[in-house]
Amino acid sequence: MTPRRRTWLVGGLAAAVVAGGIYFPLLRHRIRRDAHLEAQSAEQARRVLSQAAVETQAEPRVKAKLFWASADADGTLTPVTIELPLSNDPVLRAKQVLNTLLAGPVNVELRTLPPDAALLEFYLLRDGTGVADFSEPLATSLPSGIESEALAVDSIARTLEANVPQIQRLKILIHGQETETLAGHLDLTGTFLVNTKPAAAAPAAPGAVPAKLTPGSAPGKLSQPEKKP
């Protein structure tokens, strides 16, 4: 190799190293950004799909009862009757009423759940346990406190009780995971009794504790989570 060719080769290699030094950090930044966007898109798509599954059904409009905070700010809930297209399928129906509950009342001061929280999925087990899987903001954006957390869970339980009789107990997951508390206070390790009235598709669980969440009970009362043996 002639000295001139060698100089060109070394020069070319040096230029490639410099270009790589500049390009690789940019590439790494772009990959990280794309990964973040992909995660966001997946979450958005999940929400859109679950919402679409709920909204595309041609269902009759019925009067649904939803529970938001009382205007007296006294730590109790007030039922609000709203006409909604509700499915006869208990899982779809649960999603419909919970999405409406999450959307909030006309007066945003009476919300019981954070505006950025979403219902990711809802399952109904054969023993009548409804499993509601919420996104992380349900825990992270909810104002911390015994009263605020009790109101949040109670509004979910009472709304399900009023509209989906097949659900007898409620289990709350945060992003697919069981968590010890909602936002530092309320116990989420067990299930909440929702409805003890017998439902055709849901046999009573052995050892079930009498429910506090019956229509005649005072609003804002939660039963203690049942521990699974």
Partner: protein, 212 residues
């Protein structure tokens, strides 16, 4: 064998949160974890004046786990547990006293161990009585507070093997910390009066699972 009775002499005060967990936070920079520590000091002084000994689950800005706090309480004999909180919601200037909701507890065989995750179940009637006394005292002083003590499945209470309540003040939403600071002496005095009244009930009640 005659029923076993304990004498109430120790109050376990539990200032909630602490360390990396500030608890409820107000717009004016109010932190629940700081305020409950101040409240605990004031309740402690009021109780010690009445001759009770006081154990705190934390003394400074640390955050023992919920189970560590329970372990501290469950190691005491002749004790009750009072967890202290400042909420984010509710009518400012009001106070609520919580117990776990009622659940039927299986009878405990003589000498049987209390299951850790259901330790509170057998003490619920005693907790309820303590909560009623404390709520009545607090409602006298803080108008707008409920007349009866509410219940909620508070995780901290579930593993306490003693009469246990959680007290929550409203709220960190006030603009000035001074508004809450002014409540603290009244809460401390009311809690001390309720505990003194409860002692007569406690001393006359057979304690579930107590050692002879």
């Amino acid at each position: 064998m005659p029923p076993v009775r304990n004498v109430l002499n120790t109050i376990v005060l539990d200032p909630a949160h602490g360390g990396t967990d500030p608890g409820a936070r107000g717009v004016g920079g109010i932190r629940e974890s700081d305020l409950v520590l101040t409240l605990a000091a004031q309740i402690r002084a009021a109780l010690e004046k009445q001759g009770f000994s006081v154990v705190q689950t934390r003394q400074g800005n640390d955050n023992p786990s919920l189970d560590d706090r329970s372990a501290m309480a469950n190691a005491q004999r002749g004790a009750i547990f009072v967890s202290l909180h400042i909420g984010s919601t509710g009518l400012p200037g009001t106070v609520r006293v919580y117990t776990l909701p009622d659940t039927p507890a299986a009878p405990l065989a003589a000498g049987a161990l209390l299951p850790w995750d259901r330790a509170q179940a057998t003490f619920l009637p005693m907790s309820r009585k303590l909560a009623e006394l404390a709520q009545a005292e607090l409602t006298l002083h803080f108008k707008g507070s409920p007349n009866t003590a509410p219940s909620a499945p508070v995780r901290q209470l579930r593993t306490i093997a003693a009469p246990a309540i959680a007290i929550e003040l409203s709220s960190v939403s006030v603009e000035q910390r001074e508004t809450l600071d002014k409540m603290l002496p009244g809460v401390a005095e009311a809690v001390a009066r309720a505990v003194a009244a409860y002692k007569t009930v406690y001393d006359a009640t057979p304690v579930p699972g107590a050692l002879p």
